[in-house]
């Protein structure tokens, strides 16, 4: 099970980091904020945050508690920045004219930073020990993460509905319509997985070794990586299947 989880995590990290890096390159060309926010979010989460958090324990075992703490701090900073970038993306793309979105984004950022600080300040020097403060901090962080993912999923599904109606009138590209659905599905599963992990931690499971959370994160990681891949790096065959020959050629 551990091997499956490691393979799934590696696949997730590779897809997320590749998609994020390619989007950051696009942002460098277009100088537009949405690709900067989303590329930054995916790259920081999959390419920096996850690897550092996963590697913190073996690093700690090899080089001592300070090194472990440093790796966790770096990983948490990347994950919190990635969350903030995702909130900014959703606000900028879907709700730029909304009055409630801006305070909501900054409230989420404050909550995530506070939760991250609680986690960092309560990590014990004994490996394997999970303190109440860590549980609380990770729970809050996961909740902010799930909320952000849920928000962007909701907006994507809502916009997908609108785009389907446009498609019926010949006013939308079927590939772009499908992209909203894929992105929404990936985010919805990410958010639900974060909520399920809160449940696992509350139930007292060790999420790094218990088969239930390992199985959950493996399946979810593969599904989410697949959604990101098809949304942002779709192969020609998939584009042809979704949009037909003409749309695939244009894309």
């Amino acid at each position: 099970m551990l091997l499956v989880a490691m393979l799934a995590t590696t696949a997730f990290v590779l897809v997320g980091a590749t998609v994020g890096a390619r989007m950051l390159l696009l942002a460098a060309r277009t100088r537009q904020l949405p690709e900067l926010y989303l590329g930054g979010s995916l790259f920081l989460y999959a390419g920096v945050g996850q690897p550092f958090v996963v590697a913190s324990r073996p690093l700690g075992a090899a080089f001592g508690f300070e090194v472990r703490l440093f790796a966790v701090a770096l990983g948490l900073a990347a994950i919190i920045s990635s969350m903030l970038a995702l909130y900014l993306f959703t606000w900028h793309v879907f709700r730029s004219d909304s009055k409630w979105a801006e305070p909501f984004v900054w409230l989420a950022a404050c909550a995530a930073i506070l939760a991250g600080t609680v986690v960092l300040s309560t990590i014990p020097s004994t490996p394997g020990l999970v303190t109440q403060g860590m549980k609380l901090g990770i729970g809050c962080l996961s909740l902010v993460f799930a909320l952000g993912m849920g928000w962007t999923a909701w907006e994507s599904f809502r916009y997908h509905g609108m785009m389907r109606r446009r498609l019926a009138l010949g006013l939308a590209d079927p590939i772009v319509v499908n992209r909203f659905l894929l992105w929404g599905c990936g985010c919805a599963v990410t958010g639900l997985t974060a909520l399920a992990m809160i449940g696992c931690v509350s139930a007292g499971f060790n999420v790094a070794t218990h088969p239930a959370p390992l199985m959950l994160t493996s399946v979810a990681g593969i599904f989410i990586g697949g959604c990101w891949y098809l949304t942002f790096l779709p192969p020609a065959g998939y584009l042809h299947w979704v949009g037909g020959a003409d749309a695939a050629q244009q894309a």
């Binding site: 998609v19 390619r22 989007m23 390159l25 696009l26 277009t30 537009q32 904020l33 949405p34 690709e35 989303l38 590329g39 900028h92 793309v93 879907f94 730029s96 004219d97 907006e155 916009y159 509905g161 609108m162 785009m163 389907r164 109606r165 446009r166 009138l169 010949g170 006013l171 939308a172 590209d173 590939i175 772009v176 992209r179 909203f180 992105w183 949304t231 942002f232 790096l233 779709p234 894309a251």
Partner: protein, 103 residues
């Protein structure tokens, strides 16, 4: 955000050429846009022409407006003078079209 020029123009024309008051005209066009998956603040003249051709005539018919199709054709012709404001570069569909072509 303010409503687009195309939306405002169509509502004004509808108000002038039917018995609708301002509220009825705007409400009817809003319903047609909702059915089409479009928004008053971002609709372009080109998109509005499609709505006028394919959706609004039926909305007008249900409200007892005679010769809705001919009326919509006249309104569509009046949109030709509007600058073809491209839907905002940062509209969600423009963003997602760009993001899929990353790399």
């Amino acid at each position: 955000m303010a409503d687009s020029e195309a939306f405002v123009r169509v509502c004004e024309k509808l108000e002038q050429e039917t018995d609708f008051d301002r509220l009825e005209a705007r409400g009817t066009v809003r319903l047609a846009l909702k059915e089409s998956g479009l928004e008053p603040r971002s609709i372009t003249p080109a998109q509005m022409k499609v709505v006028l051709e394919k959706v609004l005539p039926a909305e007008l018919a249900t409200r007892g407006v005679a010769e809705g199709e001919a009326l919509c054709r006249r309104i569509a012709a009046s949109l030709s003078g509007l600058a073809s404001e491209a839907e905002g570069g940062d509209s969600p569909d423009a963003v997602f079209a760009r993001l899929g072509g990353a790399g």
